[in-house]
Subunit: 337 residues, 2 copies
């Protein structure tokens, strides 16, 4: 036993030394020195130092991240919308009547800008029409197939390549410090769960998102199955974010990061508790390397939730940290160098 333990201790020492060496590059390697990086470091120090008056016990270390525009590119249209659009031709073939109904008519006309301007209700209709009646496994398989083939038009890369490298480092840095990291997204949780582990290191059970109901039943062979039904259960934007967090996590987060008014309530809820707290907003102010929109202009805001001037003012009033993509991030994507 003692011999085995000595070997184990030696192995652990090797791993720890390895980790220390890897960390020589430092955590948050893609972040420039500046107020955003400093806010993160200060927060983690206060949260993890047991002598700190703001110490957060490990079990309570919860961090929640919006996805679209916070963890990956949301312009010109949310990737989940592009997935749904790509399902429309097959759907219309099965139900030709849809051709003359919105939002299918606009989608089939092929003008993405017009699609992006459709009202929220039309997106719900689109999502429900393209998923209803599928088993949850059929849906995941369909998303997986699409992700493997689909390419973002501007970078000609898979959408999952367009995750922000500094955010992946922030997720990892928080996890290294004992935080459970969650995605809390207005996109469908069943969509995001397909790639969350591989892309962000966040397992499916730590993805909270908008969700339609499912119905338990048996397929024609008597096999138990869950089928997607067109009934909204969770609408994970605005007040729906803290509500979804309470339902799915049951704890108030200590850190929250977003990029729009759709995340404002999550940030407010996060900041309203005791102990160390971090609230951050990603500002899209880099038209060269990514996009400029919201207060930085240049592009219309994303459709659900916007980074308004009001939100910007709220941030400075409430002690939220604004992340300038242009100034705070050394690089945006993993594939850049």
């Amino acid at each position: 036993m003692t011999g085995r333990l000595t070997k184990l201790a030696a192995l652990l020492a090797t791993i720890l030394i390895g980790a220390a060496t890897a960390r020589a590059a430092g955590p948050l390697a893609s972040w420039n020195e500046g107020p955003a990086r400093q806010a993160i470091l200060n927060f983690v120090r206060s949260a993890t130092d047991s002598a700190s008056p703001e110490f957060v016990p490990p079990a309570e270390r919860i961090a929640t991240f919006d996805q679209d525009g916070t963890l990956w590119v949301e312009q010109p249209v949310y990737p989940q919308v592009l997935y749904a659009i790509d399902q429309v031709p097959a759907l219309v073939e099965k139900c030709p009547d849809l051709k003359n109904q919105e939002p299918f008519r606009t989608i089939l006309a092929g003008n993405l800008e017009a699609v992006a301007s459709l009202p929220v209700q039309d997106f719900e209709k689109l999502f429900e029409a393209t998923t209803a009646g599928m088993t949850v496994e059929e849906y995941s398989a369909s998303v997986r197939t699409w992700l493997a083939k689909a390419r973002n038009a501007r970078w000609n890369r898979p959408f999952t390549d367009l995750a922000y490298q500094p955010m992946r480092e922030l997720l990892e840095f928080l996890r290294t410090n004992g935080f459970k990291t969650y995605i809390v997204t207005g996109s469908g949780q069943d969509f995001v769960r397909v790639y969350s582990a591989e892309t962000y290191g966040v397992p499916p059970e730590q993805v909270v998102g908008s969700a339609d109901a499912t119905r338990f039943g048996y397929d024609k062979d008597g096999k138990p199955s869950l089928t997607k039904v067109p009934k909204v259960l969770l609408n994970d934007v605005f007040g729906g974010k803290p509500e979804g967090i309470h339902l799915m996590i049951g704890r108030r987060p200590h850190a929250a990061v977003g990029n729009s008014t759709g995340d404002q309530q999550m940030l407010e809820y996060t900041k309203a508790g005791a102990g160390a707290r971090l609230a951050m907003l990603v500002l899209h102010d880099d038209p060269e390397r990514e996009y400029a929109y919201g207060p930085a202009r240049g592009l219309p805001d994303s459709r659900i939730g916007t980074f308004t001037q009001g939100l910007y003012d709220e941030a400075s009033k409430s002690g939220w940290t604004v992340i300038s993509m242009k100034n705070d991030w050394k690089r945006i994507f993993d594939f850049e160098e």
Copy 2:
């Protein structure tokens, strides 16, 4: 650095030797040798041996447990119902009209057997009336206060003392083998989350249960808050269990344990996937040390979901393991010796 690492290695060695000594008693110490214990050991061996054709990758090791009647005593009435009953006098003082309405009239008459026979809708009404308008923090605090004072009539002990010791060992054994353990309960998740970590080692974010909606808003001081609203969001029994599992976990469990027809669909869903699978039902057949009901008779079944003869037959047909409390458990509670 090296000095610190040596100390760390020594500390780890101490912990590992301690763990090895504690484990000398063996896992599942309160389980008798027999088919139930053997089924657990076989399942864990198949799931964790990377050479096994039924190997389950660590990320997919999810185990789900019903609570009432599976992890703790549910007779003569679910503890959550007793909590709600104890809130009725204060409620009636505020709203005297309720005195003449069901279920409040029956509750105030003080006959527990009559209360236990009320229809499910009356329980929903009871839960909603005793929680609506509370913030989620007020509700948790109220449950915590009640649990500290309330005593089970038969054993004169706190309800959390009436968790089944063999099940706590099973939860721990699965966790030791890399499983994430979840409670999937017909009781309210906000109720169970108050004590799940301390009683079962299951953190709040791993409790899936019935749930009413909450509403995000601001209190009179402008502080963001979540208030409980009387609108059922999840009804976590029967088909609602696999539906809740999909919503909150997003993975099909590899092990599921229940004790009634309310758990049947969860067991069916669990068994219908590939790799190692374990489905178990607790049979209450020990009137001396606990209760006898269901196929073992003696007491009426619990109200929501029952262990019927049909379920018993289904178990042997489907390869589910029936746990006989009388034969499979050396002791029922931690406080026995």
